[in-house]
Symmetry: C2
């Protein structure tokens, strides 16, 4: 395995590790448990699952990996704060969406070669990318991994 | 810049981004604010700063980058839960230790070449590293970046 492949794989492993831990934490939760807030007056676990599903779903377009699966989640779980609107999916359906989005994303990630990780993402213009080539797919992957870890820390407050 | 350097730099940028955000969040906090718990009965912000300082300080030895600076913090902020022992440093001193540890670590990281990021860390044996070459310095960097993001999510609950 080349140095380039080893380096890119380390980032992909980091993503898989964080998603795997969240999967293990979310899967056994009952509908009642998913309604709990991570701290008084803060987001419910269900909102965090919806939020992370929507944010990850946006990566299909952002990274040029195909069409996203659940565009309707953005309005509920990204644009609106928790409890502003009714949840559009049951807890079981949302868990299913979470697994589907991450499963398909990870499968697409596995096919990218190291050079492709350094290509620009779709939210940066050609002109801006010339000025700042760090705005690549890999930076998005790491940013989203950190974002998932950020909310995992909040979810972990519920024991 | 080579593909290898670009890939390694993306991981280093991700570390710097998370540490920079934590720096910006911690620096303006008063001693009183640092005594607040992230949720009822959970860790104080001061404990999280101590915990992250100790965990990051251990990376000097773990990554073979020299001697660590504050070994005395482990017993208070890693081995013991919050409020089990008196804080050994004032809030101002702890903030200073936090900045010093991350500053020196990041300077050492900047000097590593891509190949060096793929070398084994010191907590894995030569034999185990042959079996699993993903147990390298880069995996530790990403794991610690995610760990810092995990606790940043908790600290962010205090507004």
């Amino acid at each position: 395995m080349t140095t380039e492949t080893m380096l890119a794989n380390a980032a992909l492993n980091s993503w898989k590790l964080i998603i795997g831990r969240l999967d293990a934490a979310i899967a056994p939760l009952s509908d009642e448990q998913l309604q709990r807030q991570v701290a008084p007056g803060k987001n419910r676990l269900l909102y965090l699952v919806g939020h992370l599903t929507a944010v990850h779903d946006r990566m299909f377009n952002l990274l040029g990996l195909g069409e996203r699966l659940y565009p309707e989640l953005d309005e509920i779980y990204i644009t609106s704060p928790d409890r502003a609107r009714p949840d559009p999916l049951s807890a079981a359906e949302l868990k299913q969406a979470w697994s589907e989005v991450n499963g398909k994303l990870t499968a697409a990630f596995e096919k990218l070669r190291p050079q492709q990780w350094l290509e620009k993402h779709t939210a940066v213009s050609d002109e801006d990318f010339v000025k700042d080539p760090t705005r690549n797919r890999l930076a998005v992957l790491m940013s989203r991994t950190n974002h998932a870890a950020f909310h995992t820390g909040q979810a972990a407050l519920i024991k």
